[in-house]
């Protein structure tokens, strides 16, 4: 059985948890006490990941760290339709990779702000918040134009990709770090679309949305 070294309140661990659920992959969660125990930095955990980070997965002896790398692996291994990580279309694939890189930015700003506020990390909170707003402005405009083209997701495909999963937690939890989404109406609509995907699971801080009256068949 696939194992995910996980912490419930971590935005980065939520990413693989979400995709595992959406792909319906059976798995075991191995809780790592990130806060306050800092178990991810313990000698025992460094044997699994010398960098002392979560998440990490272990799949039949194969160990992989870093949230976005794990998303790419899971989509490649467990999505026979090849829509979550669309290797058949080089331009689309390039777009997905570019948004994964963008999500490193949201993790370093929006999610870092949340680490300051909720978990006592001593980053420059003001810089994190300002950086997150810069990125959210770009993403909101991008998603607004996607809507104008009749498309729902971050990458220009009919189906969601790992880029949506990589961005969702940083965006959906941003207000815990003091980053309001009032100025980003397209971003607010996109998070609701992600939440309505089959297999979506929430985490503390992600509030449920209303089901649509006539769910698309």
């Amino acid at each position: 059985m696939l194992r995910l070294y996980d912490y419930l309140l971590s935005a980065n661990c939520y990413k693989p948890r979400l995709l595992l659920s959406m792909l319906d992959v059976p798995h075991d969660l191995v809780p790592v006490e990130f806060y306050p125990g800092r178990e991810h930095e313990s000698a025992a955990f460094r044997k699994i990941n010398p960098l002392g980070h979560i998440p990490v997965i272990e799949d039949d002896g194969f160990i992989l760290r870093d949230a976005h790398a794990i998303l790419v692996y899971l989509a490649g291994e467990y999505d026979p339709a090849r829509t979550w990580y669309p290797t058949a279309d080089p331009r689309l694939l390039g777009g997905v990779a570019s948004w994964l890189q963008f999500a490193e930015g949201t993790a370093d700003t929006a999610s870092a702000a949340r680490l300051c506020v909720n978990f006592g990390y001593e980053f420059d909170l003001e810089a994190c918040v300002a950086g997150a707003h810069r990125l959210f402005r770009v993403l909101d405009e991008h998603l607004w134009f996607r809507e104008q083209e009749g498309l729902d997701w971050v990458a220009p495909a009919a189906a969601p990709t790992v880029a949506d999963i990589a961005l969702f937690p940083d965006v959906a939890l941003s207000e815990e770090g003091g980053i309001s989404r009032e100025d980003y109406p397209s971003l607010r609509r996109w998070t609701e679309r992600v939440q309505r995907l089959p297999g979506f699971i929430d985490m503390p801080g992600v509030l449920p949305v209303a089901p649509l009256p006539y769910p698309p068949t």
Partner: protein, 587 residues
Amino acid sequence: MTAPDPASLLHPVAAGADLMPRHVVRSRLLGRRLAIWKADDGFVNVWEDRCIHRGMRLSAGVNDGAELVCQYHGWRYSNRNGNCVYIPAHPGEAPAGGLRVATFACAEKYGLVWSGGSPDAEPPSIPALEGGEVLVLRSLPVNAPAALVLEGLAGYSFRPTAALGTDTPITTSADAGNPHSVTVTATTTGAESSVVFFIQPAEAGRCVIRPVLSAAPAPEERLATLRHHARALEELRAQLEDSSPAEAAVALPLATLEPLRSGGTAGAAGGRHPQLQVRVARKWVCAEGIAAFDLAPVAGELPSFQPGAHLDVHLPNGLVRQYSLTNGPDLTGVYRIGVKLVPEGGGGSRCMHQSVHEGDALDISTPRNNFTLRRDAARTLLIAGGIGITPLLAMAQTLARQGLTWELHYFAQSDDHVAFDEMLAPLAEGVTTYCGLSPQETGAELTRITRHYGPMQHAYLCGPGPMIDTARSIAAEAGWPTEAVHFEYFKNESARDDSSAFDVTLARRDQTLRIGAGMSLLNGLRNAGIDLPSSCEQGACGTCIATVLGGEPDHQDVYLNDSERAAANRMLTCVSRAKSGQLVLDL
């Protein structure tokens, strides 16, 4: 020229396209946070973004299409008037009438949603946008004061769609026709185009630019046009934010917006006074001997109601009658009631059938609910006899909309007596009708229907007296506790005895009244100036209930269940009296 008070005008607060189904838009105007949502009936609600319970933002809530649900403790607010209609922590009680979120005026024009100002204020009229199809461009929030932004927008430069990708010379002119918008017109050989920039003053130092293009381009040029303006506006924003003072030195007048109050004149809370005037918008025969009425407001929005609610209708012949609302949460804008003709009755139903017509005005009370529906049951059984379908129909629609588990069993004299077909049809999966059964057959069906009781199940009964009596005793035998069986009688058919005389002490007033034989406690209280609300005045509806602090009540109503009677801590003042010589009431 003195600028008009910004708080008295309508301002844009969202784009019409932002109001997606089952979505709640978060916005802000003059420092006031707004939650904006469109119900399934198309009504756009602009509310203060604050649950009246614990202050949670309603824009984080769930729009279920007819009610907005707060994420914190699940308080539900109804479409149109913002009244709280359900509090999960008090599942068996109707929320008090005053529990209501602040609502604001709303209008839609030029593809934008407008709010603020007085209820009769109108969005501005801009000549450039009249008489043609417009295109709403992407709005842009700016961290700069509105005055500075308006000034900067006058210098906006763009190319008309027909001249995109060319380098023909462009001339632009700006016209600040009103203090809250700027019209910029670009002209080139053979092409002219205007953009109107409306400003949403969000708060001091921050506003939202909402641009509208005068002539919608052809579909194939739409995206290019949108991108052209988005880029130009983005550039302008960068300049504005750079030159904006770091501290918001130009403060906007953060005036408080007055909530829109509506729903007719509020009458006195007590007594049986009409509180609202309505118009009979539609009257039709919905089954053999049953007339249905849609009652529409004369002005404003009707006060909200919960499933199980009834209202008093003050008839032209002077009688006052109670009718249950059949409305589910989706039927807004009217109260729908059903009236069964009872030829040998007191004249109420005859008057409704024969003398009340479409277009007539009627005086009514606001809806009251003493037959409240819990929305936390594992399974809800609804059992209707005849015209008793009316409150249960409202309940079935509410439970169906929320995806809860329910079944409706409807006993009628014949197929022709089955009322409200068109409202039952969408509920068909949960509805079973029984026509023309004898009392024995009805009893057998009731035994079958109630045979499986489980924890957190609730049953609601409404119908003729003998049927409710039978259903209650059958349910009790099947193990249903009295708390789980809720009922509403049409009328109190039990023999009543008002020969007793007693004293009643009003604990909060330190006053004692003598209630003599032949006088009701309710009238005794009214004679002493205590105007208790009442409705049916025969012990069936529960409106005139009072809390008993001492003494033994002589219950003569059909509203309280057996355990409530035994508890002896509440009584209906219209028919019930005292077994002891003295009663103490919490009045």
